[in-house]
Symmetry: C2
Subunit: 202 residues, 2 copies
């Protein structure tokens, strides 16, 4: 199953190039796992679906740790039918998806509880799109139940859901929502913004 | 049909607050048309679907005109089934959507040709998601044919399409893709980034 993301980092500072270059080293441990390509708009990551959110977390925590207001925006996708079935997109961890919904919700909450603490508080906003056929509304409602019990649920907004908390738990919650709900081999896209150090955070 | 967007503006400068406050006045002509709500992540616009991209264009051109590298990111939606049918979401212009596909493509190209020139060159990257049932693949292929003939098509990338050109033509192309293709009353979401003044534009 093809999986990857188009990722952009926006540091709100005159030295945005320096902040980006300072943060990009956080992707080093992932370079052997992912195909990575950059242009003037975004960086493409193609690789194991269960490593996408850890890689984005490490990149963002590294940038936010430099103290400036910054945002990560990403378009994340799995199972896109027009894309080749790339062997580098094999999950690193055996994930047991496709289990009964109640067990999936419990397992997702456990994964978030076990997420590493980063010490970086973030706000995140995302929209999850199950595309094509084969997705059951039960799965979507199950995902919502999981989000509300994730410990980082902030609120529902028009067109999206907002999370707030430690970057470890927030990115783990996003990863679980992306991977565990909807058809295991179905096409799912996720539109994400994560913000840190905002002067207007409420 | 409920329609709107969650819009964020990211100026890559120490004075990001000043750039945002300096640009927000560009939304004044739209304040009577839209419901507008802001928090620390994004600004919600709810209103006529055919005014969403002109409003975002004016906001972004105003910010980019201040000379700094900046990005607008937006999650745009129409026909979301969970949202109320809001009377403020009535199109301002009578739009004749739902016409035969070949006529729709011709009309879309004409609209882009008639778009105002802003003098601001931008690069845009977007993903269009027809959600739920009722969308025909013919419509999607028709949209792709339109994009390739829009005059601002740059290239297809993994998970998204890239445009480049004057902000007037680029935002008009996005608006046509969003409104004219897929089921007229169907649920469509669009994930958008627009960039100007990038030091690495290629």
């Amino acid at each position: 199953m093809f999986s990857g993301a188009q990722v952009s980092l926006y540091p709100m500072t005159d030295d945005f190039v320096g902040v980006i270059l300072g943060a990009i080293g956080a992707l080093e441990p992932y370079r052997s796992t992912f195909r990575i390509e950059t242009d003037d708009i975004s960086t493409l990551l193609v690789g194991p679906p269960d490593q996408l959110f850890p890689a984005m977390r490490d990149l963002f925590v590294s940038a936010a740790g430099q103290g400036v207001h910054c945002v990560l925006a990403a378009t994340v996708s799995r199972g896109c039918p027009g894309e080749p079935d790339d062997p580098i997109c094999t999950p690193v961890n055996d994930s047991h998806y496709g289990q009964p919904l109640a067990e999936g919700i419990t397992a997702a909450i456990e994964q978030v509880g076990a997420a590493p603490q980063t010490g970086q508080i973030v706000a995140a906003q995302f929209s999850l799109y199950p595309l094509g056929s084969g997705h059951h509304m039960d799965e979507i409602y199950g995902c919502i139940e999981f989000l509300k019990n994730s410990g980082v649920f902030d609120r529902s907004k028009n067109f999206c859901t907002k999370l707030r908390g430690d970057a470890g738990a927030v990115f783990a919650t996003l990863s679980e929502a992306f991977l565990r709900f909807g058809a295991p081999q179905g096409h799912v896209a996720l539109d994400l913004k994560v913000s840190a150090n905002s002067p207007t955070a409420i």
